[in-house]
């Protein structure tokens, strides 16, 4: 229902609590306008803060993680996504952020699978089923158009569809949903909170990245299921928020932790005449491939889930990369906008980055163990991809 607001056109006095509430929000401080009346600088500052916070957060070490991740990305394709308040359209922004995300995601999680669900006109459809094939995912997403964005957004239908597709997976798999929504409301056929409870009971973690403003129901659903809720205020922020999801989440107590059977087939020359499972229309692309260690079916690349016997086939380096998250690299100490800490002997010399030898003239990041200094780009590379400190290992 609506509240009886006494502060309408014939009554100028507001309630005192209203003024107090507005003060508490610190609107003026958070979104400070500059002389021209623009809030761009304030937003830039917010972004830099967010980035700094994300960088500096210590990732938990020696903690059980959901490494075999099965993630459904639910993309809002309602009319609100066609809005050009973020040019050229919110949809374009989301698609390009998603593209970058997929790249990074599979690099960090080689044995994970991703599926795509699109929500338009209050319905939801499974656009791409769970797969480890990044090319298929990127190709499919590249043809989604603003013209297809119609109607209202139904969070419940999107989540229900994801639940139906995730609930029959083996218990040790990390079941995740990432919702990207521009709509500020949801039109559902039933109770969204009932669906949220069902998701929680099935150990599905739902995270939401909103675009534009905070929405109560997204916040609540992600809280109930143990996921994260953030609101992106511009394209770069959206990329930043999505990239936070490339890190495998800690598992909750209720998730089964069984030993998982995994096969390590050798990359061999296959002499016997055979067809591969990955190319149903043509045939194996080369005479080398992998034979499933259990059932003998042929595959061209790893990692893959064998279609015949459902065994997960990986190569040892890929598994190692997945498990690197168990011992994450500690955050470096930031020395931004100042000269890097110099040893007394080289006080006049401009120090250079230990990783790439570029001069460290605008800020450095120092490893707390070995005291090597790195530039901004090397810091990102080390923490997000390599997960090692070259200084410590040399």
């Amino acid at each position: 229902g609506m509240s009886h607001n006494k502060a309408d056109d014939d009554d100028q006095k507001g309630y005192t609590w209203e003024a107090g509430y507005a003060d508490g929000l610190n609107i003026r401080e958070v979104l400070e306008e500059d002389e021209g009346g623009s809030v761009e600088k304030a937003i830039g500052r917010l972004l830099a803060d967010a980035r700094r916070r994300q960088r500096a957060t210590e990732k938990p070490a020696r903690v059980r993680l959901g490494i075999m991740r099965h993630v459904y990305v639910v993309v809002d394709c309602s009319r609100f996504m066609a809005s050009n308040s973020i040019p050229p359209s919110k949809l374009r922004m989301v698609l390009s952020a998603l593209d970058l995300f997929l790249d990074k995601f599979f690099e960090q999680n080689p044995i994970a699978q991703v599926g795509i669900i699109l929500c338009k006109d209050r319905k939801a459809e499974r656009y791409v089923s769970l797969t480890g094939n990044i090319r298929q995912l990127r190709d499919s997403m590249s043809v989604v158009q603003e013209l297809q964005c119609v109607g209202d957004f139904s969070l419940q239908n999107g989540l229900q569809l994801a639940l139906t597709n995730l609930q029959d997976l083996p218990g040790h798999v990390s079941r995740e949903v990432i919702v990207i929504a521009a709509a500020f409301s949801t039109v559902d056929p039933g109770s969204i909170f009932a669906t949220a409870d069902a998701l929680k009971a099935a150990n599905v973690r739902v995270s939401v990245i909103g675009i534009g403003a905070e929405v109560y129901v997204y916040k609540r659903v992600s809280k109930i299921t143990g996921g994260k809720y953030n609101v992106a205020i511009d394209p770069e922020h959206a990329r930043l928020l999505l990239s936070a999801h490339t890190v495998p989440p800690p598992t909750s107590k209720s998730v089964e932790c069984n030993a998982v059977r995994v096969g390590f087939p050798a990359h061999e020359e296959i002499g016997v005449s055979s067809f591969c499972l990955c190319h149903p229309d043509t045939g194996p692309l080369s005479s080398r491939g992998f034979l499933c260690v259990q059932c003998g079916a042929r595959h061209c690349s790893l990692p893959v889930e064998c279609k015949v016997c459902k065994l997960t086939l990986v190569s040892a380096p890929q598994l190692a990369r997945a498990f690197r998250h168990l011992l994450p690299l500690h955050p470096f100490e930031a020395h931004e906008d100042e000269a890097p800490p110099t040893s007394s002997a080289a006080s006049d010399e401009m120090k250079s980055c230990v990783g790439c030898c570029c001069p460290l003239d605008n800020g450095s990041y120092e490893c707390t163990q070995c005291k090597s200094s790195f530039c901004f780009d090397c810091d990102i590379l080390l923490h997000e991809s390599l997960n090692i400190c070259p200084g410590c290992t040399s």
Partner: protein, 588 residues
């Protein structure tokens, strides 16, 4: 009704009224008899002769009554074919008032029966169109038509009884998981219906919006069934609706007596009062004790006209607020009914969850439709009082000590520690000299020799019948790819792997390979055999594989050459080995 002499009959009649003359259009005399209204038809029976006149509801277009100033009290039933049947009410000793009451009782009963009948007909057409059973068969044949590979598989395995259709379709035909198409209703659907145009009124209506209106305001649906297409066209109905006082109701004035929606207003107000009297109950707060409780001021006890100080603008606003609140509650109630219908008898987790959040102490009060629809799956009655539905969904968890909105944003992550030995590192910092050299050589060779073109040799086309012309290239690409790993030595290529070179029958051979994959797949899905069905399936698949080896596979080997089926033999062999292992374990 009893005083008029009308009664419900023992033969399933809804109503019987005696002393009714049937004025047949052609006959000279008009006999006196009785009207019997049944569920699907109305019948007039002659009191003196056995003749009867039966009118099926499907033939009835509408009813008309004689104006009050006419001396005779009559009811006329209009037929689809423009015929008419007129009945005169002539109970002896009854004055005109009583006769009119009798006649109106007949009209009402007939009207209601007609509406119910039309609803049933609608339901039947809808379900007939759906024809779920046929839809499945249609969908399956479509799937087979779209993929030649699947069609071949189906022919090869299912028609030759190697695989049951059930087994086959578990993987290829799924009704769930592709879409979710139940749609919700937005509260805004009323807003866009009517737009004032320069030429008059523009109506935006489609099936969806109409369905929404009917679901939210059942009175309007009733009116529609009554009036369309007998007294007015579809278009006329909606124009009347959009212009009716009922729809706008911005001012508290008496409705135009010609307005067919006049009684809808009364009905809604009654419903709103019921809701309001139920009140809203919050777990931790009780607004009733507040002296300046604006919510109750708007909703009810102080109706705008009773308050002398309220000006017209306030009255307008409160009316609007009441209507909006009622709309929200109606939409939520409708959703609840849909939910209950969709869930049916199956106790899914979602239903259990929703019924557990809706379950609350407190007796169900008289009133809203929610009571009827939302009995939880476990049979416990759901709360139905007041704005119960709206309230229920915003409710906090029972065990929360504080309101969810005011709670701290950050929650502690529950982390499960694992043992990783100290000093474990994923980095190998030291390599033996020769290893280091070897790895370096691999990387350099790889970067130098290989391009994408060489790895993917386009001439290596499996499905083409022409022999590969580029064994030279092939060797080179192999060379480049393996690079340092084999020290640059070319690997001898088994010509059997070049399908194109060896046989024109690749297509047929492929069908056999696909069939084996499918059969073997079904074998492997049985592990681990946790149920008796799976154990039975293991036996079944083992037999099937044996049979396949002896028949289709042996045949294919004969026709095309055994060397092309070595791989499939291997796969079947592995399955057999697993089976042997399984039997051995079971014996222990």
């Amino acid at each position: 009704v009893g005083s008029c002499g009308a009664m419900a009959g023992t033969g399933g009649e809804l109503l019987i009224v005696e002393h009714v003359k049937f004025r047949n259009s052609d006959a000279g005399k008009s006999p006196i008899g009785s009207i019997h209204i049944f569920k699907e038809y109305v019948e007039w029976r002659d009191a003196t002769s056995p003749s009867r006149h039966k009118i099926a509801f499907g033939d009835i277009k509408g009813q008309r009554v004689s104006p009050p100033h006419k001396p005779k009290v009559q009811l006329q039933v209009c037929m689809q074919d423009d015929g008419q049947a007129t009945f005169v009410f002539l109970r002896p000793g009854a004055d005109k008032e009583a006769l009119m009451r009798e006649r109106d009782a007949v009209k009402e009963t007939l009207q209601q029966a007609l509406v119910a009948h039309r609803q049933r007909v609608q339901q039947m057409t809808i379900s007939a169109e759906k024809g779920s059973r046929d839809a499945e068969i249609e969908a399956k044949s479509k799937i087979l038509k779209q993929s030649r590979q699947l069609e071949e598989l189906y022919k090869h395995l299912v028609t030759s009884k190697l695989l049951t259709p059930q087994d086959f379709w578990t993987d290829y035909y799924k009704t769930t998981g592709k879409t979710e198409e139940r749609t919700g209703m937005t509260g805004a659907f009323l807003a866009n219906i009517a737009q004032a145009d320069t030429n008059g009124l523009k109506l935006n209506l489609n099936t969806n919006i109409i369905q929404n209106i009917f679901a939210t305001y059942p009175m309007v649906e009733r009116k529609h069934l009554e009036l369309v297409p007998h007294e007015m066209t579809e278009e006329e109905f909606w124009v009347k609706f959009a212009t009716s006082h009922y729809f706008h109701r911005e001012r508290e004035v008496l409705p135009n007596p010609d307005d067919p929606f006049a009684d809808c207003v009364k009905f809604d107000e009654e419903e709103i009062s019921k809701l309001v009297n139920g009140g809203t109950k919050r777990k931790r707060l009780n607004f009733e004790y507040l002296s300046d409780n604006v919510v109750s001021e708007i909703n009810g006890s102080q109706r705008p006209e009773s308050s002398s100080t309220a000006n017209s603008k306030d009255k307008q606003r409160t009316t609007l607020i009441r209507r909006c609140n009622y709309l929200s509650e109606r939409i939520l109630i409708t959703q609840q009914q849909d939910n209950a219908a969709a869930v049916g008898g199956a106790a899914t987790a979602a239903a259990a969850a929703s019924s557990s959040t809706t379950n609350a102490a407190g007796p169900a009060e008289n009133g809203t439709a929610a009571a009827a629809a939302s009995n939880g799956v476990n049979g416990a009655p759901a709360r139905s009082s007041g704005y119960a539905v709206l309230h229920r969904w915003i409710g906090d968890a029972d065990d929360a000590m504080e309101s969810a909105e005011l709670a701290e944003d950050e929650t502690e992550l529950q982390l499960q520690p694992i043992k990783v030995a100290d000093g474990t590192s994923f980095v190998v910092s030291e390599f033996a000299r020769e290893d280091a050299d070897r790895y370096r050589a691999i990387v350099y060779n790889f970067m130098d020799d290989v391009t994408e073109m060489e790895i993917l040799d386009p001439s290596e086309d499996w499905m083409s019948a022409s022999p590969s012309t580029s064994s030279h290239n092939h060797g080179h690409s192999l060379n480049g790819k393996t690079g340092g790993q084999h020290g640059g030595k070319p690997v001898s290529l088994d010509p059997a792997t070049q399908w194109g070179a060896c046989t024109p029958f690749v297509g047929e051979i492929r069908v056999v390979h696909d069939a084996v994959n499918e059969l073997v797949k079904h074998f492997w899905t049985c592990f681990p055999p946790v149920t008796p069905e799976l154990e039975a399936k293991i036996e079944r698949m083992e037999q099937t594989l044996k049979r396949y080896e002896q028949t289709a596979l042996a045949e294919a080997e004969q026709r095309f050459g055994a060397q092309f089926f070595a791989h499939t033999r291997d796969m079947i062999g592995r399955a057999h080995a697993r089976y042997v292992q399984y039997i051995a374990r079971r014996k222990k």
